[in-house]
């Protein structure tokens, strides 16, 4: 029982250190995100109010703004959380490490879509925001740089392995940038995909990755 443990907690730790405070803050952020996503998936993004989020998270509405000043902040945190989760997941999937590059890249985007699937409306809203130059979420804004770099490094490392295996020729960093654009394009397509089980997205993803890899292997765009 949580209450009981806290009762037995040694007096010295009753005042959290700054590291612990950071940790607690992260925990609360996670709770808020979880509650918010849950509401988004049930009620939709636009119909969820901050009041509901704070009530469900068990904090005062004012406190909520200490954690996320705007919906954009929440969206940013969501994206960071998604990308971190995606990278951790990929690295834990043993069979994927040996799969072809086309399959690896497919798996990454597909997993991403699976994870964000329940919050489609939210993702759509985030995307519309991202297109606005003044938004923090815009890929060119300084606020997103840490996130972008993390993602780009992850993809670049993956491509580097494929280069080493001689699956594709050496590409430099550009490969990761191209893939990032492709990733975004697929998410846009997916948002508008009306097919059963969104199978059109699966087909598009599979075909374009296979074509891209085979074009690269044949030595570029010479066709």
């Amino acid at each position: 029982m949580p209450t009981r443990t806290s009762q037995h907690r040694p007096a010295s730790s009753s005042r959290p250190t700054s590291g612990r405070r950071q940790q607690n803050k992260q925990k609360t952020k996670q709770v808020i995100l979880k509650v918010a996503l849950d509401l988004f998936s049930r009620k939709g993004f636009y119909r969820t109010t901050t009041k509901e989020i704070s009530r469900k998270a068990g904090i005062a509405e004012g406190t909520l703004f200490n954690y996320f000043r705007t919906k954009e902040d929440l969206a940013m945190y969501f994206m960071e959380d998604q990308i971190a989760g995606l990278i951790a997941w990929f690295q834990g999937e043993k069979p994927l490490q040996r799969a072809s590059l086309a399959e690896q890249l497919f798996a990454i985007i597909h997993r991403h879509l699976e994870r964000v699937g329940p919050y489609e409306e939210f993702v759509g809203a985030v995307y519309l925001r991202m297109l606005q130059p003044v938004s923090k979420l815009n890929p060119l804004s300084l606020d997103t740089q840490a996130l972008s770099l993390r993602y780009l490094r992850f993809i670049r490392d993956l491509l580097a392995v494929a280069e080493e295996r001689e699956e594709i020729p050496h590409m430099g960093d550009i490969g990761a940038y191209i893939f990032a654009l492709f990733h975004m394009a697929i998410i846009t397509y997916w948002l508008y995909d009306q097919s059963k089980g969104k199978e059109n997205t699966l087909a598009l993803l599979d075909r374009s990755l296979k074509v891209a890899v085979s074009i690269l292997r044949k030595g570029g765009w010479n066709w």
């Binding site: 799969a99 072809s100 086309a102 399959e103 059963k196 199978e199 699966l202 087909a203 598009l204 374009s208």
Partner: protein, 451 residues
């Protein structure tokens, strides 16, 4: 949104360009000759064009193979619609039959989930990530149900249906050679499209399996799969695993002649039973759809292409087997009408001649009693050759009842199988057995197909 639309994987543009190219290649050679043939009368020039056609056929196959997906299926249908193409093209095109766009494990799993709402490992106790067989529209995986039964799970490549619809939109306007030479009238194209779309629906296939499985229960030596409906959708088909050896593995074990004969006799009985007692035939005569064991047991898969027939077909088949078509002028007229629709030949002699040529085809498989030859040796290459020629001749005249042409095609596949098995079969005895069964209780007709 425009941009998004253009990047659509099934977009007709890329294929359009490719088909256009295909058209051009062929226009440059095949079509010119075709037109010339029309003007000069074809028969005597056949040989001279063989080499040319062979090149064209290869080109067609390469182009079609590159397109993958549904157009490959189109090649398959073309190769089945033998009357549309010269022999060499058929040979080339039939090579297309076994290929399918592959799915890596991640895609197969994703597609399974997309269609069934759950991942394979949530549905089955075990699921093999790698497929063990290719299907024309997807691939087949081995799995084990929670209760420990071995199953085959056929998963369709995503968005095939949309792709097919687009292909046909294109084909209706494309410069495909057959179309331009009048081999592919819109009505056939429509029929082919309908057939395709039907085949993309695994629920429809599942119903066919259920139906034929029950109908074939009377023949204890044949196994048809059982459908697991709770793990089946229009794009995922889960069925019991059918054990047995492929014809190649079976033959490599050097089965004794008696076993080959037994299997041959049973295959023939199965076929006649389907045509005459069930009015349905498993229409894909591909050898890969049959499995055998050394006890003479037969396993059968692939019910995507089950054809329902009117009673006309069994009557036609019957009157050629027992040669009752010759019973008087009235009967001759009736049979020719069944076969060709409205009277095709102004001269009666011509009608008889045409019927006789179809009849010759049957005389080889069911030797008339007066020849005193009761056992037919299907190993004889002359037999298969003559059958094929006869068959080609009959369909080349393009006058055949479409249903009958289709069942004949399945029949030819059967003889091909018997040929590979080198079976010797007392065909008339098998026929008598089927006639006897006919007097027994009739079988419920195939339920109307879902649209």
């Amino acid at each position: 949104m425009e941009l998004v639309k253009n990047s659509h994987p099934n977009g007709a543009i890329g294929r359009g360009m490719r088909m256009g190219r295909l058209g051009l290649h062929v226009v440059g050679s095949y079509l010119g000759y075709q037109l010339q043939n029309l003007l000069l009368g074809s028969e005597s020039r056949e040989e001279r064009h063989t080499k040319l056609r062979r090149n064209v056929s290869r080109r067609v196959r390469e182009e079609l193979a590159e397109l993958k997906g549904p157009l490959m299926k189109f090649g398959q249908i073309l190769s089945m619609q033998t009357q549309m193409l010269p022999d060499e093209s058929i040979e080339e095109l039939s090579n297309l039959q076994m290929r399918a766009p592959g799915m890596h494990p991640t895609l197969a799993r994703a597609q399974f989930k997309s269609s069934l709402g759950r991942y394979p490992e949530e549905v089955f106790r075990e699921f093999e990530a790698e497929p063990f067989a290719a299907a024309s529209l997807g691939q087949v995986h081995r799995a084990m149900t929670r209760s420990g039964e071995k199953v085959a799970v056929k998963i369709q490549y995503p968005a095939i249906r949309t792709a097919i619809e687009n292909d046909f939109k294109l084909l209706r306007t494309a410069t495909l050679p057959g179309r331009m030479t009048g081999h592919l009238p819109v009505s056939i194209l429509k029929e082919v499209q309908r057939g395709f779309l039907e085949e993309t629906d695994y629920i429809n296939e599942g119903r066919n399996i259920d139906f034929l499985r029950e109908a074939l229960a009377d023949l204890p030596y044949v196994t048809a799969p059982k459908v697991y409906w709770d793990a089946t959708t229009d794009r995922v088909l889960t069925m019991s695993y059918v054990d047995g050896l492929t014809i190649r593995d079976f033959l490599s074990r050097r089965p004794p002649q008696e076993v080959r004969n037994l299997i041959g006799q049973r295959l023939l009985e199965m076929f006649l039973f389907q045509i005459h007692c069930v009015h349905v035939v498993h229409a894909d005569p591909h050898p890969g759809n049959y499995f055998f064991n050394l006890e003479g047991h037969i396993g059968m898969v692939d019910f995507g292409c089950v054809k329902k027939y009117s009673a006309d077909v069994s009557e036609l088949s019957r009157c050629f087997i027992d040669r009752s078509w010759t019973n008087g002028e009235k009967q001759v007229q009736r049979i020719s009408r069944l076969l060709w629709g409205t009277p095709q030949f102004s001269r009666r002699a011509k009608t008889r001649e045409m019927l006789r040529s179809v009849s010759e085809f049957y005389d080889m498989v069911y030797p008339p009693p007066e020849t005193r030859r009761s056992v037919v040796d299907f190993a004889d290459p002359a037999l298969l050759g003559a059958l094929t020629r006869n068959f080609q001749e009959a369909v080349r005249n393009k006058l055949c009842n479409a249903e009958f042409a289709f069942s004949s095609r399945a029949e030819l596949g059967l003889y091909n199988l018997l040929h590979q098995l080198r079976s010797r079969v007392d065909t008339r005895r098998v026929w008598s057995g089927v006639v006897e069964r006919l007097s027994e209780t009739p079988i419920e007709p195939l339920p109307a197909q879902r649209r």
